[in-house]
Subunit: 365 residues, 2 copies
Amino acid sequence: MDDKELYSFPGAYLRDFCTAVFVHFGIGAADAKLAADVLVKSDLRAIESHGVARLHTYFDMLAAGRINPQPNLKIIREKASVATVDGDNGLGLIVGPKANEIAMDKAEQHGSGWVSVRNTNHFGFAGYYPLMALERDLIGWAMTNSTKLVAPLWGAQRMLGTNPIAIAFPGLNEAPIVIDMATSAVAYGKIEIALRKNEKIPKGWIVDKGGRHTTNPQDMIDGGAQLPLGSEREMGGHKGYGLASMVDILCGVLSGANWGPFAPPFALRQEIPERSVGKGIGHFFGAIDIDGFIDKAEFKKQIDDWINVFRSTKPAPGTNGPLIPGDPEREAEAIRSKDGIPLIKPVVDELLDISRNTGIPFEVI
Amino acid sequence: MDDKELYSFPGAYLRDFCTAVFVHFGIGAADAKLAADVLVKSDLRAIESHGVARLHTYFDMLAAGRINPQPNLKIIREKASVATVDGDNGLGLIVGPKANEIAMDKAEQHGSGWVSVRNTNHFGFAGYYPLMALERDLIGWAMTNSTKLVAPLWGAQRMLGTNPIAIAFPGLNEAPIVIDMATSAVAYGKIEIALRKNEKIPKGWIVDKGGRHTTNPQDMIDGGAQLPLGSEREMGGHKGYGLASMVDILCGVLSGANWGPFAPPFALRQEIPERSVGKGIGHFFGAIDIDGFIDKAEFKKQIDDWINVFRSTKPAPGTNGPLIPGDPEREAEAIRSKDGIPLIKPVVDELLDISRNTGIPFEVI
């Protein structure tokens, strides 16, 4: 096996493998299948950082008994259109979809539903949840806080996660608009890639441990921090910091989870925060019944129009013009559903390691 | 009067003047007072771009009969926690606060309230609305779409407004966290200031009419466009574009207002869009009852803790460390409530012009 070569796997094969791994740890079959679907959907949509590349981390956490394989979700507080759910320290990949269902049920009954979740863990890629809402013809919304990686503007310390925001709007004949974005300037994975390739990174992605701007990706590993979207004061770095704070408070503080620098780590190798101010990490899900605002068919017709108008924007030089949010992921999904999911050797090696440890067969074809 | 000198006015004096101007156009006394409060609150909080500096534009629009002075707000569609309001082409400064009240009433009854508004006009600074929610001990949320100024990433054309997002969270002993941000890289006012001072602007604020990056602010006037938060692909410009799109769709499409490049202009001198796809511009208000999620006192205690933890972040070199969102505006309000609101000569001249045209006395002290 060559380090740079790509190995292709059918989505269904990876889904079955992940399901078996989760079942191995005592997770029920339906829950295991759900969790596997969240992971593999991410790979299908070419969001590799949140797909099976993370399976070994879930494996480690489950093996170490840090995650409850059979969580009993509880609504601990509720009003008609809102609720807080305790995830019983389950896999976020299971807690997330179930809490999102509660938000969607509330939306169908009361026009909108908003569910904060505490005592949960990493929930995969945020875009999965609004995609669930689209299947029920709702507008869906999802956010989560996460382990500290990002410094607030003018800070020299990791204080916030990359705290993503995802939202999706259904079209009529056009594919939906799916927005899914971290509130940091860049995904952590891009810093890792530069490090592996021994390349410099653009100014504005990270600061070193002293809080100074740097283009050396190694400075991130050596105690540095990512910068929020906008990066600098003059370019709106306070806005990215504001958005990350909003996500942190709606997910963490409102649910009674840990917030800010106290969000527990996702991986075993990461340090345990010095304080605990709540339970687990936090998510926040929203669902909106379009019919509560406007005739649904009319809304979708207008979304189609919106998409066509924005697609025909005059392109900037050297580009093909603006994309519609969700276009690249949907195009990747169409290709990968047919041709398979390409994985790099280090990821394949991790899956083989899990196979050896669990006895669940995994074959490189 | 010197062009660079500042003239100071008590907030109450400006509020009375604005109220009288609105009454002059047939707006009822209570509505006029409300609209004046939105404008002057903006100046008190040092958001000068959205304060009395805009009064002449409202004056022009009212004088031209382009705004309905006595709007009859109607809920045109509704479910328990959501509604769409038709603003009857009223001043956004009146329609906005009233629609926001509906969202807050729903939050108190059903846990949350979400109101989209169509057939409305510019609503002042977005932060006003979450500040209203804080007075009722709710989490408040506000967005609006607006006249096109911003190009989508990879676009060479104005397609979106600066589409702000505002949200506020109450503390117990600490002042609230108030996030209020445009989704463009920078406020339009900063480009105007550079133009007036004959200074260059940083790369990443605007593109020229050909879609090329430029540091000459005159290129904005000559048919250029602002860039979304993040500015470039590599720095997350697609995220700012995604956020601006989200605001545009929730405010414009969901309410049945005009969206994207078709949002009608706020000022007489701006071009009328080639198409109309709805009524007026659109807002979106949200209110959340904290008690529906968590004990309110516990939430506020945690917010105090959050504020203190973030305030004590290790500072980046050459800074005093991160601010808490809302700090600068609140500090300005404390000073300006005592010492008065400083206005530059061009703004004072506009108020004097309104005074001459309406016969309402305005004196520079």
